[in-house]
Symmetry: C2
Subunit: 340 residues, 2 copies
């Protein structure tokens, strides 16, 4: 196989020269277009093999005005929720012959913006984004220029765009109802930063369940803030300790649940626990972990399909789709209230 020096790939022009044909004829053969003599096609194929030619798709796509790629911007590619979602998006992208760019905002609005605009500058066919920031007006020109944007998990702010969310309030309400049904009247809520949409919606669900059961809500039962281990540990200690302690906890996401599990009082005083979001191995804990499970794959699939509807030309009003959550009772949420 004759080849020029490493790093310089042969082009269609090189193939054309080698085969003694015109550029367009090479293009025809490479693209399987009809109207080429078998003999000519054979010479072209021989030259292709000889030179180790492979078409440059980036060049092809520039000419055709598409990029055959979509971008997925997550909170953290490495976390289980994001990765399950990614995989589902990938499958839809694959079915539609698109390659997938992926990136993490790391919960940093500046980084989110930077990455989103970088993807748009590459002219991806569409953008799926789990927002970290709370101002998405920077995407207005992109959307207007024809790059569809679909928000996942949380809605975008300052822009009319599709959003695919978990039914956060409904799910949280179901989880808290479950605790109430098992006899709890003093129930704590440990959540994320309160300005985050998911936290606000889940807290709303918590309040709804308490109100509909005629239970008072002591504001001291509600702890919101950063989700690092130490902060959650302090919140758990505060809510479950001392007089007037809660007998059950509802934890607002998987990071919080995980931290809480490590710092829960044990023995007879162990509070009941229902977590929002499922965890691997949750069924093997003792007691099993009762959760309101999200459907990250469902979010990804639904969001990606919606994005492709837009790519295909759907110009209807922005839609908001809620993907159902599911209560899975495994033991921790069925612990009865301890006699305090």
């Amino acid at each position: 196989m004759t080849r020029s020096r490493a790093g310089s790939r042969p082009t269609m022009r090189d193939v054309a020269v080698a085969a003694g044909v015109g550029l367009k004829t090479v293009s025809r053969v490479v693209n399987g277009e009809s109207g080429v003599t078998p003999a000519t096609a054979g010479r072209v194929r021989a030259a292709i093999a000889e030179l180790g030619f492979r078409r440059n798709d980036s060049a092809r796509l520039l000419r055709t005005g598409r990029t055959a790629s979509i971008a997925l911007l997550l909170e953290d590619l490495g976390d289980p929720f994001s990765s399950a979602l990614s995989r589902a998006v990938e499958e839809v992208a694959r079915a539609r012959d698109r390659l997938l760019f992926a990136g993490s905002s790391a919960e940093d609005p500046r980084r989110e913006r930077e990455l989103a605009l970088a993807f748009c500058a590459r002219r991806v066919d569409g953008l799926l984004i789990v927002p970290a920031g709370d101002d998405h007006r920077y995407l207005l020109p992109e959307a207007a220029a024809g790059t569809p944007v679909v928000f996942l998990d949380r809605p975008g702010t300052g822009i009319e765009a599709d959003a695919v969310l978990s039914d956060n309030a409904v799910g949280a309400r179901a989880g808290v109802r479950h605790l109430i049904r098992h006899g709890h009247r003093r129930i704590g809520f440990v959540g994320d930063l309160p300005h985050i949409h998911t936290c606000a919606a889940r807290l709303r669900g918590y309040r709804e369940a308490m109100v509909e059961a005629g239970l008072p809500v002591d504001e001291r039962w509600i702890a919101t803030g950063p989700t690092d281990r130490a902060t959650v540990a302090r919140s758990v200690a505060r809510l479950t300790g001392g007089p007037g302690a809660v007998t059950a906890l509802f934890t607002g996401n998987n990071r919080i649940t995980l931290a809480a599990l490590h710092h829960l009082p044990t023995g007879a005083g162990r509070p009941a626990l229902v977590g929002f979001d499922d965890l691997e191995l949750a069924d093997l804990l003792d007691p099993g972990l009762t959760v309101v499970a999200q459907d990250p794959a469902g979010l990804g699939t639904t969001g990606a399909r919606l994005l492709f509807d837009r790519i295909d030309g759907d110009r209807g009003p922005a839609r908001r789709i809620e993907v159902p959550t599911r209560l899975i009772a495994r033991g921790s949420g069925e612990i009865p209230p301890a006699a305090h």
Copy 2:
């Protein structure tokens, strides 16, 4: 903001016309090059804002001959090992101003090949690949043409290329030694398909530990095969049941460990267990799960750095780097042999 119809973005030419300057002057302003009168630059900036222009990076990159992207081809974007690895790769890519394409082979060699070649056709600057297939000669022309390839987790086959692996044999040996140290003499090994490199290396480590301790290995203690729940359940039942049953199990990867945990005999006859690969919540099980933990982030970071060395022009011989594993004792591996 005047704008042509949605879907057609303004180009530098449009900006040049609107500002009454040449194309090159727009390019200068956009790229922050010197040598433009403040007045001219102002007119250009006004036109850019007016038209909502944003440079097309795909076009820019075609001209400059780079793509400022790398590709990561995994077994399954959705699994915890892959996603931790992805995130680490992303961070290195970001530090080097590259966007990241991601894709899953789904353990299908055909899909691996198809995706890898699609990435190469886009002319990614480099390719990181967790191989599914066992023949990577199809990458020979790509590597020769200057697209560096680094294999992760398992080495490539039929091609001289860098590989970054866990120290599978060393780690497995450490895990089995741990069981031996706790009094076990009959130890079972449940692994993946035996032709998979990681399975073979871990099985080798198992044998080494047994041999160095002077223990016989009954081939019936070794179960390799698919890692679905049912198959693993049967293997576990076979190894731990009946006369001559093993008193401890070494499970060869996280899927197998997870399945085994669901089907382990309980009570006094419970075998000791050490798993290769860590699991979230492993410390909260009862007993805690003893594992040989891999370092997926370390694999990703090391692999990505190696790839960028190659991108930067390193033409040295192919390297194989082993990333250390770490034994984490949490309880399940310290169960003494039951009196059978």
